[in-house]
């Protein structure tokens, strides 16, 4: 269970370009559920995920995961329980190291990194088995540097790395956005399989309305650093792409009225 209470994040506080990227966001995601975050560009989706992961500290509020308070913990401490896949396929893997080495690093998450050999026969077999499940033929390329794989292959491996030891929370930030439609579909399918199979609590940012309609049990919409819509249960199941687009459009139109203009209008008509 992820429990976020009143978190705010401000970039460049006190400077002319000060920006409130998150404003008192409160969100609870029950154990094992799959929530999708949508919103316009710059609405704070990535900021929310990064704040949960601990990339930067929050100004106020608290973040708890499974009862543990994470608010003051550093990024690498939280990462022992949180798996992450980034938008950029280059971010999730070490390009100059081999497929096997990358996965071995992930397999060691949460364990002491001591002076044992990272890649023994047993680990290699385990890695080969898990790669076979991806059905991408990667099990034959254990010793290839990851940098020479395609974006889709790298995202698949990153996904495998993020979920190797079941995390308490999985954060996916538009992890298919940089891929061609075919690879994107493949990765979404894979994501769904892994998340369903392991019952991983997941928070996924997506720009694809088709994905939003097809996956997850809940949709959270953000705008200007706030959560403005939260749909779950049967209404999420009935949710169509068109409905979402309509809401988006409404929000966007609302945006064109800046606060002072809105105030003038209100004074005149109300």
């Amino acid at each position: 269970m992820l429990d976020i209470k009143n978190i705010s994040v401000t970039f460049s506080p006190g400077l002319p370009n000060e920006l409130k990227a998150l404003r008192c966001v409160t969100l609870q995601i029950p154990e094992g559920s799959f929530a999708i975050v949508i919103g316009t560009n710059g609405s704070g989706k990535s900021t929310l995920l990064n704040a949960i992961a601990g990339v930067f500290p929050v100004d106020e509020g608290c973040i708890r995961l499974g009862g543990t308070d994470l608010t003051r913990r550093p990024e690498h401490w939280r990462a022992l329980r949180i798996g992450r896949v980034f938008q950029n396929p280059f971010s999730g893997t070490a390009p100059n190291m081999t497929v096997a080495e990358n996965l071995a690093l992930a397999a060691q998450r949460g364990r002491a990194r001591g002076l044992g050999l990272a890649l023994n026969r047993q680990t290699r077999n385990l890695i080969r088995n898990r790669l076979e499940n991806l059905k991408m033929g990667l099990e034959n390329r254990l010793d290839t540097p990851i940098g020479s794989l395609s974006g889709g292959q790298r995202q698949a491996i990153t996904l495998l790395m993020a979920t190797w030891n079941k995390p308490s929370l999985l954060l996916l930030d538009e992890h298919t956005a940089a891929l061609d439609p075919q690879s994107a579909a493949q990765i979404v399918q894979l994501t769904n399989e892994i998340v369903q199979h392991n019952q991983i609590t997941t928070l996924m940012v997506s720009h694809s309305m088709a994905q939003v309609a097809a996956f997850g049990s809940r949709v959270v919409m953000m705008h200007q650093g706030e959560i403005i819509h939260d749909v779950s249960g049967p209404s999420k199941q009935r949710l169509r792409a068109e409905d979402l687009l309509a809401i988006f459009e409404e929000v966007r139109r609302g945006d064109q009225l800046d606060p002072s203009a809105a105030e003038l209008l209100r004074q005149r008509y109300v």
């Binding site: 690498h76 022992l80 992450r84 971010s91 070490a94 190291m97 002491a112 002076l115 044992g116 890649l119």
Partner: protein, 313 residues
């Protein structure tokens, strides 16, 4: 012949410097120029202990260890206080200059008449071979002292290379390499990347200080100025090694750094023999690194021009 022998030995000793530079510059992509100070620190600590009649082996180890502290200082400046890597190195290197003078008490300590690793090795082989101060190698009469030192250094550097290669294949070593390759990913995998950098620079500067401690004992003195320009020297060796092995694979890269250091020293010895002014050595070294850093782009540009010309025909 003696010239060749001494070039080989110094090349081997400085290959520890090259390995240290390889770890910071290549594995961590951390432009650590503490080396200029830590190589002298290692030499200073070892020399002072030796003049106080500590066994040279312990003195050498203490020298290496002191370099570890210097590396830790640089890494901490960067990791904890978020100072730019280059500036962190400059700060520690500058501070070390005073520290080294304090440790040494003067600017030069002669070691010729002291019991050093060189004299121990000489004694050791001498007793194995009986009285003669020369050893016959393929018809050459080689002073035992030089032969013993070369053999000892060869053994030691081989060992260091193997240990490093193994180390970088362990869980810890792999995590360190990955930190240099993609730090963001390592944090997302639960690794404190700051700690990896600290451990990395400790290892790197220990090797560099060890190189200094050995160099002092081989050349017979420690001088407070001996570290000047050593980072560039190490970098030149690493670059030369890379062009020799043409591989980024770990074991080969380590071997390349060692071979590069020896080859570079040999080339320098030959150039000096041909009448290169020793004062120009650092200038030439810097020019070499400059050429090596820019030549890939230059070659690519020439290749492009050539291809364009071909297409015109």
């Amino acid at each position: 012949m003696n010239l060749l022998l001494s070039a080989l030995t110094i090349g081997l000793i400085l290959s520890l410097l090259a390995l240290g530079v390889y770890i910071s510059f290549r594995i961590f992509d951390f432009a650590d120029i503490t080396a200029d100070g830590s190589i002298t620190l290692g030499a200073a600590v070892a020399a002072v202990l030796i003049t106080h009649h500590v066994h040279p082996l312990w003195a050498t180890l203490a020298g290496a260890l002191s370099g570890g502290f210097a590396g830790a200082a640089t890494a901490l400046l960067h990791v904890r206080f978020r100072i730019h890597p280059l500036l962190s190195g400059i700060l520690v290197m500058t501070a070390l200059y005073s520290m080294n003078l304090h440790i040494m008490g003067r600017s030069n300590i002669p070691l010729i008449s002291e019991r050093t690793l060189a004299s121990v090795a000489e004694q050791w082989i001498g007793t194995c071979r009986g009285g003669s101060p020369f050893i016959n190698f393929l018809g050459w009469e080689i002073p035992i002292r030089d032969a013993a030192m070369l053999a000892a250094m060869f053994g030691m550097i081989t060992l260091a290379g193997i240990v490093l290669d193994l180390f970088f294949r362990t869980h810890l070593g792999t995590a360190m390499r990955a930190t240099g390759d993609n730090a963001q990913m390592m944090r997302a995998l639960g690794v404190d990347t700051g700690r990896m950098i600290i451990i990395g620079l400790i290892i790197s500067n220990s090797l560099i200080a060890l190189s200094g401690a050995l160099l002092a004992q081989y050349q017979g003195f420690t001088d407070v100025q001996m570290g000047i320009g050593m980072v560039v020297w190490g970098l030149a060796s690493v670059i030369m090694g890379e062009s020799l092995v043409r591989s980024r694979q770990l074991g080969l890269a380590i071997m390349g750094a060692i071979m590069g250091s020896v080859l570079f020293r040999l080339l320098v010895a030959i150039a000096l023999r041909w009448g290169l002014n020793p004062n120009d050595l650092k200038l030439i070294t810097a020019l070499f690194v400059f050429a090596a850093l820019t030549s890939p782009r230059l070659l690519a540009w020439i290749e492009k021009r050539r291809r364009a010309a071909k297409q015109l025909n």
